[in-house]
């Protein structure tokens, strides 16, 4: 089955819950081998999209394919996906080693070495019952068994959210370890933008059910700039076309531009205004886009 180099592709994917439009004509493209960050405010539709991917929800309209197969094709597709969610239910009474043994029987491929490596590195006691593990350890144990079945696509749904820095580092490390040299794909949905900025090479930004941006992270960072313009007190600079955020101060005005910042920069300097351009963090980019998105959906 051809996948055209994409692990996940959707076309005009739409999911409605009654009158509420949770996903609105989303065209997502997750390249094979990428670490794709799906970001956006709470309620933007990230988890709905993932539930569609896992065939826990059926799209209202549009298509969604995983490695070229329709996401609703069931076990053949599902078996290639690993999934770790925040606070996901687990068999509390099981010991870590029993969980690994049980899961190893559910999947055709099992990579016991990868599981051992992760458990050893993170120092999780194989004899401990799941219920006695800390929140970070639970997530790591869940990740270990998901990596164990050698998924082609690993989905982390808010798996980093609310964890201590040490646990987050270990999860990021494990993702990097399983990624390298493999044609594996990771889809991370979450709010921890500084972590995602580290390891993601592609991002999709969902705002109110719409995918407002999808780009390689590096390209997005290169083209999004904040311009700081110094001027005489109380000068009203006109807002450049395409500015996603404007802050007006007494002697300084700041614009965020998603594109064409260089042209505006030159133009302002040509007018004799002292202007500097700053790079933005992923967090700042998301905040600007979320604020500038048109209110209401549909």
């Amino acid at each position: 089955m051809s996948d055209n180099g994409y692990a996940v592709v959707s076309q005009r994917l739409t999911k409605c819950f009654g009158r509420k439009v949770a996903l609105d004509c989303v065209d997502i493209h997750v390249p094979v081998g990428s670490i794709y960050g799906l970001v956006g405010p709470n309620g933007a539709g990230k988890t709905t999209l993932i539930r569609c991917l896992l065939d826990l929800l059926r799209p209202t309209r549009g298509s969604l394919t995983v490695f070229g197969c329709d996401a609703s094709r069931g076990p053949t597709v599902r078996r290639r996906i690993g999934h770790v969610a925040a606070l996901q239910p687990m068999w509390e009474w099981m010991r870590v080693r029993e969980l690994a043994k049980f899961m190893s029987g559910c999947y055709p491929r099992w990579n016991a070495d990868a599981v051992s490596r992760l458990l050893d590195r993170t120092g999780i006691d194989r004899g401990a019952r799941i219920e006695t593990l800390s929140r970070g350890q639970r997530t790591l144990a869940a990740l270990a068994v998901q990596i164990g079945h050698d998924p082609d696509l690993l989905i982390l749904d808010e798996a980093l959210t609310g964890l201590d820095p040490l646990a987050r580092r270990e999860i990021l490390r494990s993702v990097i370890e399983m990624m390298h040299g493999q044609r594996r794909t990771v889809l991370i949905a979450g709010q921890d933008l500084s972590d995602m900025e580290r390891i993601c090479d592609h991002v999709g930004i969902l705002v109110e059910g719409r995918l407002v941006v999808e780009a390689p992270l590096e390209a997005l960072r290169l083209r999004t700039k904040r311009l700081r313009v110094s001027h005489a007190p109380d000068t009203q600079l006109s807002t450049p076309a395409g500015a996603t955020s404007v802050e007006r101060g007494l002697r300084e005005t700041r614009f965020v531009l998603g594109d064409g910042a260089d042209d505006v920069l030159h133009e302002l300097r040509a007018q004799g205004l002292q202007t500097d351009a700053d790079d933005l963090s992923l967090e700042e980019i998301v905040v600007c886009l979320a604020q500038s998105a048109p209110a209401g959906v549909g």
Partner: protein, 132 residues
């Protein structure tokens, strides 16, 4: 040996890792024949996307600073003296550009700024000593 990535600086991680290797070679902390960590090791250490590290290694190999031996790892191929003058200039220029932004913002005459820099270069005077 590698410093943590600075996520606040706004400088792309690719640039930060490349600059670190350049600086280490220019300062003699990495010398010809020294082995670098594998792509996976360095990505895990710095917590960055392995493709970023792979691209750094690939581009530095193309520039002749690194040499990859198949299945054996990546090594420093260039010595500090052979590091192109223009590379060294670029590293210094990048830092001076930041200083220049402040000089302009403070309205300091260029001559005073240059004098100050010359003074620091010859006397090694730090800002702290200058204030006391």
């Amino acid at each position: 040996m590698f410093d943590p990535i600075d996520t606040k600086s706004g400088l792309p991680f690719y640039r930060q890792i490349t600059d670190q290797i350049h600086r280490a070679v220019a300062a003699g902390k990495l010398q010809r024949g020294d082995q670098l960590p594998s792509v996976r090791e360095l990505a895990m250490q710095l917590l960055v996307n392995p493709n970023t590290v792979a691209k750094v290694y690939r581009d530095l190999e193309r520039d002749g600073l690194l040499r990859a031996r198949r299945g054996q790892g990546t090594y420093i191929a260039a010595s500090a003296s052979s590091l192109a003058e223009r590379e060294r200039s670029r590293l210094i220029a990048e830092q001076l550009e930041q200083v220049a932004t402040d000089v302009r913002a403070f309205g300091m005459p260029s001559e005073s700024a240059v004098d100050l820099f010359r003074d620091i270069l010859t006397n090694g005077r730090t800002a702290k000593e200058g204030l006391s």
